[in-house]
């Protein structure tokens, strides 16, 4: 090849050009092949991946939360309904800078630190395309401000949602309970699919017990959205199934009567329809406004409720465990008659105290400190019930022994959960030697049998249990697991029958007569409520000691701090011949049953006569 060419050689230039063209064509083909491989890889090899991604891009599965079932009282009065409320939510995926967006939102509407904290926690758990609630219950004004600024806040959405509302919040706080925002633990426990799009769940009471029914079934819609998250059209839609509506046995008037009669004192009233087992009233005072809990109660409000010495959050009707005191005596009486240890005519001497054979300790009758003597020289069953004679039942208990006492009282439902359809029910204690061995690893002492015989000592019952036991007394043995709900979506719900309390008719009759004398007898312990009464009642008073009283110590009510005063109890059924209501009343530290039986009278008046008080 010549090194120096001085002349332009057209042929050589064309030849070089030809070679370069070949190179260029090869280069072009090579690179086009590379592009082809790339597109092949995207469109053929990874087709499924990108197809899925594109579908996910375009189609959003939006949950359609079901409408929560409504709750009515027996007369059709709405006790829990749903009201529209506006929620500010954020879709993480659509937000470029979450912190900046949150900052901008806080400038527009008030968002508390706790709201923010809950939001941040929820963001971590939710999928990027899901809207996460930030603020509930937006006001009209806040909605307007958000709407105006919508364009500069992509990914921020305001959703309308139905929120639970309790028109009679405080009155039914313990009967119905409440819903609240799903917390972290619940979000793990609840069915993820079913609760997508639902922010609230029943926390307590009927709302929790019937959560599955009230919640309903979630619906879905597949929506096509554009890149900005705007829904363009609904591709397919599965409507949610609304939750079941519940009709309760509760009667709002009865509930109100009981609530007002308790007059802010600590106490509980449970009234049952003996024929159906339906709960006509369930009141625990003090109550609280359940609406506070629906959107997450503020720390201040919650602390106030939690730290109140009156423990308003405590449902005394099913959680409160109190010694039944003398209210256990009609049941003991039946036990004595059924066991054959006593007859209606059988009587015991009553000096005002009782002594176990071979023991110098005196077990005093409550009347001793009032009269200095017993109820009468000899006391029989009717008088023992009517005047609440302790000595008679000390003697009966001793002869019956604790374990047989257990056998006779257990069918009344003592020491067992009643199975009522609400939450947090406690079982109380019906002591026995076995129970003491297992629970306390101690042997049973004979003196403890005497305490148990008058419903003191280890024996504990809830007002619900007492009401159920009263139900059994009223119906002469037949009683049911109490029910708050009477119908689900119009379908009646029957309360399941409990084990029948065995008893001969004449024995039941003797017990009933005793209970009748409690109210209507000349010396009945609740004779005060008989004044002006238009129907007949079978009842039994009770006083539950809050602290044990040392031997020979003189008990002076006034000296004991109010919190240490005795609890007042009263159980009753009416009308006496054909009962339509059985109830239990307890007034904590009421001093005695006189605090309780006026309340029962008012409730029974309302129920039987249709008048308040």
């Amino acid at each position: 090849m010549p090194q120096h060419i001085t002349l332009k050689d057209s042929n050589r230039e064309a030849r070089i050009y030809g070679a370069r063209t070949v190179t260029a064509v090869l280069l072009v083909c090579g690179l086009l092949a590379l592009i082809t491989v790339r597109y092949y890889s995207l469109q053929i090899t990874n087709y499924e991946t990108y197809k899925t991604q594109s579908e996910r891009n375009r189609v959003q599965l939006q949950p359609l939360p079901p409408k929560r079932g409504l709750i009515y009282d027996r007369n059709g009065v709405l006790l829990a309904d749903n009201r529209p409320s506006y929620i500010l939510s954020v879709v993480r995926e659509r937000v470029a800078d979450l912190d900046a967006t949150l900052l901008a939102l806080r400038a527009l509407v008030p968002i508390s630190d706790s709201d923010l904290e809950k939001f941040q926690k929820k963001v971590l758990r939710s999928r990027p395309y899901e809207s996460v609630p930030l603020r509930f219950r937006l006001t009209e004004d806040e909605r307007a401000r958000l709407a105006v600024n919508r364009h500069r806040l992509p990914g921020v959405v305001v959703d309308a949602q139905l929120l639970r509302h309790y028109p009679h919040g405080e009155l039914f706080s313990h009967a119905i309970g409440y819903v609240g925002r799903i917390n972290e633990q619940e979000s793990w426990e609840l069915d993820e699919t079913d609760y997508r799009g639902t922010f609230h769940v029943g926390k307590i009471g009927v709302e929790k017990y019937y959560e599955d029914l009230l919640h309903g079934t979630v619906g879905y819609q597949n929506v096509e959205t554009n890149a900005h998250g705007r829904v363009l059209r609904v591709l397919e839609r599965y409507d949610p199934l609304p939750g079941a509506d519940l009709v309760l046995h509760l009667d709002i008037e009865l509930q109100r009567t009981a609530y007002e009669a308790l007059a802010g004192r600590r106490g509980a009233v449970v009234a049952i329809d003996p024929l159906t087992g339906g709960i006509l009233a369930l009141v625990s005072t003090p109550g609280f406004d359940t609406n506070l809990f629906v959107n997450g109660i503020s720390t201040v409000d919650y602390s106030a409720l939690r730290d109140s010495p009156d423990v308003p959050l405590f449902n005394r009707a099913v959680q409160g465990q109190y010694p039944p005191g003398s209210t256990v005596k009609p049941m003991m009486g039946l036990a004595g008659l059924e066991s054959g240890l006593v007859t209606p005519d059988y009587s015991v001497p009553d000096p005002g105290w009782y002594r176990l054979p071979g023991d110098s300790r005196r077990y005093r009758d409550w009347i001793l400190k009032i009269r200095g003597t017993g109820h009468a020289p000899r006391v029989s069953l009717n008088m023992a019930i009517a005047e609440s004679c302790d000595v008679y039942f000390y003697d009966l208990a001793r002869r019956l022994t604790i374990d047989r006492m257990y056998d006779y009282l257990h069918p009344f439902g003592l020491g067992e959960r009643t199975g009522v359809d609400t939450t947090n029910e406690r079982r109380g204690v019906l002591p026995s030697t076995r129970w003491k061995r297992e629970a306390m690893a101690q042997p049973w002492y004979p003196g403890e049998t005497l305490s148990a015989g008058i419903g003191q000592g280890y024996m504990l019952t809830t007002p619900m249990q007492l009401a159920v036991a009263t139900n059994a007394l009223a119906t002469r043995g037949e009683h049911r697991s109490p029910r708050l709900v009477s119908a689900i979506n119009g379908e009646p719900v029957a309360a399941p029958l409990l084990e029948r309390v065995p008893g001969l008719p004449e024995n039941w009759q003797a017990v009933h007569e005793g209970m009748h004398a409690v109210v209507h007898g000349a010396r009945g312990s609740a004779r005060k409520i008989a004044k002006g009464i238009q129907y007949e009642v079978g009842g039994k008073t009770g006083t539950a000691q809050v602290i044990g009283i040392a031997q020979n110590a003189v008990y002076k009510e006034e000296e004991v701090a109010e919190r240490h005063r005795n609890h007042g109890l009263f159980i009753a059924f009416a009308p006496y011949e054909a009962p339509t209501i059985a109830l239990a009343v307890i007034v904590e530290n009421g001093g005695g049953s006189s605090a309780a039986y006026p309340i029962a009278r008012k409730v029974m008046d309302t129920w039987l006569l249709g008048e308040a008080g």
């Binding site: 064309a14 050009y17 063209t21 260029a24 469109q43 197809k51 890149a227």
Partner: protein, 379 residues
Amino acid sequence: MGDYVRQMPDGSADLARPPSAASRFHLDLPLLLLLLILTVYGLVVLYSASGQDMGAVIRQGRYFLVAYVVMITASQISLVRYMRWAPWFYLLGVGLLVAVMFFGVGAKGAQRWLSIGGFRFQPSEILKLVVPMTVAWYLAERILPPRFKYIIGSLAIIAVPSALILRQPDLGTALLIAASGMFVVFMAGIGWRYIVGAVVIAFASAWPVWLFVLKDYQKQRILTLLNPESDKLGAGWNIIQSKTAIGSGGWDGKGWLGGTQSQLDFLPESHTDFIIAVLAEEFGLRGVLMLMAIYLLILLRGFWIGLRAQTSYGRMLAGSLTLTFFVYIFVNMGMVAGLLPVVGVPLPLVSAGGTSVVTLMAGFGLLMAVSTEKKIVTH
């Protein structure tokens, strides 16, 4: 003459024939036909990509009308004139670029346009044609392959406008213009040792370029290319969405107007730089291969015209224009598919936009001028 004909065996038949109507109007029929097919294909895709906006299609159709007129006009002018005008065009072009520096108007932080009497245009577009014309003019008189000092001279011609455009900043156009000039040098037969040397230097200078030349947003594009997932909603969004669009098209595509990615706004710039993603989504790999076939035929025709050119000037110009056209295709299709960083290069004759269409068609006008060049004896 006899020698010449013997070297072009395929062309000999043409020469024997009387000039056809097409060649009388300086038109290359196969090229024209391919361009028309491409135009129609592009408009069909554009209708879908623009969100079924007939207005956008009509607007683009008008640009094409102008572009075809420009092309036919450009093809009428003899190559000798282009050669003579080249340095003056060059000086004018560089002058306009300097003017852009001082009086230019911009958008998105880049100053690229000159506004004259309400009419905005990018002087850099003119240089896409002027630079190869000038380099070809510069080298056509030299003995080829060019000697080292002429290579340096050519590089200087390329460097001045490229640097000015890079400053605007417009990396995409600067690279295209630099490439179009380099292709002339390459087609002129520059020795492989220079090419290899240049590649080595390019790689060696990558780090300093990264540190001192590239702007943050340009670096971002490269980083995003390497890992689009790192910034899903920011810079990576475009690439993720375009890859999704392409991939979800599969072999058959989702059908015309049926591309969910593009119709529902997930795909950014769907009617301009990213239009290939719309095509790939709606017409599938089939549609992509069809487009590539059209492109390949145009490229081959371009090379063919170069091979048949009568002068070094025509040859180099044709080769460079063809290769530049290919760069558009490669860079655009590569970047949308996530192979190359995102630079502002349209898919030639398919992406919406008047300027690039007119420039490209003017380039094809030049190619046609080459194809119908009268044989002139240069020595």
